[in-house]
Amino acid sequence: MRRTRTPVAGVSPDLLVKDAARLLPDPARRQFLRQVGSLGALALLTGCDITDGPSAEKSLRKISEFNDWVQARLFNPNRLAPTYPDSAVTKPFPFNAYYAEAEAPDVDEERYRLIIDGLVANKQPWTLDALGALPQETQITRLVCVEGWSAIGKWTGVRLRTFLERIGADLSAKYVHFVCAEGYSSSIDMPTALHPQTQMTLAFDGQTLPTRLGFPLRIRIPTKLGFKNPKHVIGLTVLNNYTGGYWEDQGYNWFSGL
């Protein structure tokens, strides 16, 4: 439970630099249609314009938005993700992020405040103690990564729904957006936010959430892919505008429901 001193609540300066660096387009990521030419796939698909990369990417993103719509309709708010026995928990639970494990942000638990914004009646920031005083629940569920692998974890925390009700959030709003200490962000649809298994996770496998898994607060959503389960969450906003997210803006499907 050793937490080191950081200048600003929750944020390490190194990671802020890293965050700025990621705003520069990564050439490897930007060229996702360039390599396609080698396969002639675009020629097959459009019958003509191989060089028209950006417009093909635009079409693919349009279809991805259609897939968001389909998935929102497939989403059953009462359908629970399968749960598992204690013995099924994956040990060690894999670490996965766009940075190395050693670079995971060290959030100061004393200074930590969860900042609340948007369509919410009470925007008072929350301390960890206050979050810990809300009713806690434990779930043993499977995390499915966008890369394909999966792992089972034992997560304990507060139902996001309980929390949203507590702060007087407008539950008819469309989105809940999360920002993280390392500069990560993601947003989800309100029906998923209100799902009984969507959790503000404070503990993993009976211990305080370790840094590698998102200390002090992770949003655990067993009905969405792992990248929609943000770690080191320092801000929560309820809103009606689409805000995307770190990976979503780079091409991962936004809804990414399971």
Partner: protein, 205 residues
């Protein structure tokens, strides 16, 4: 039930009806995209100790592969559904794929391997062809089923359970892919050996 097997096809006889030719080539495009984008996705977290060469993958990186895969799935599914519906309604499947008897397969397979299998009449499938075409149809259905289970392991968790859960569905999806690739290798090879069959799949006869 058994059909007469003419030894040669008259010039005017239609080998492949229009709906088969259209859905065949649309399927070729869809399968090409599904395979190459699927290999891109596989490479992000390989199930086995190998990856697919990047030159064979579509999308440039994982997100690109996923965008292609989840776009082409609609084409693959809609086209496949159209083929199954028309094929069932017009009795195309019954006429082309039945009867399918194991002893005919053994007979035709040994004839094929000793170079004595006739391809004179392209409109009538031999037993090995029937088995391959029915087999790849089943593989396609397993591909869709296991793919849906991977896409929606929570919403469709009964379906996922049928494949042994999420991780089971990954394995099934992989091996069904492998069987389709194996089919394609043989299929393309045979089309090259009997080029008239390629002409028939374009022009119908």
């Amino acid at each position: 039930m058994s059909m007469p097997q003419p030894s040669t096809s008259p010039r005017h006889e239609l080998v492949h009806p229009l709906f088969v030719r259209i859905t065949h080539w649309v399927n070729a495009i869809a399968v090409f995209i599904m395979l190459t984008s699927g290999w891109q996705i596989y490479n992000a977290s390989p199930l086995f100790p190998f990856t697919f060469p990047p030159s064979l993958t579509l999308g440039g990186w994982l997100a690109g592969g996923l965008l292609w895969h989840f776009a082409a799935m609609w084409l693959f599914a809609a086209n496949g559904l159209l083929y199954l519906l028309v094929g069932a309604r017009t009795a195309h499947f019954r006429r082309k794929f039945l009867p399918l008897r194991p002893r005919d397969v053994v007979r035709d397979l040994s004839a094929a391997l000793t170079g004595r299998l006739s391809h004179a009449n392209l409109a009538v499938y031999n037993a090995v062809q029937k088995l391959c075409y029915v087999g790849v149809l089943v593989a396609g259905l397993i591909m869709v089923g296991s793919g849906l289970a991977l896409w929606k392991p929570v919403q469709l968790n009964e379906l996922a359970a049928l494949f042994g859960g999420y991780e089971g569905a990954r394995l099934v999806h992989f091996f069904a892919m492998l069987s389709i690739v194996l089919f394609l290798v043989i299929h393309v090879l045979m089309a090259l050996i009997v080029p008239r069959s390629l002409r028939a799949m374009v022009l119908g006869r």
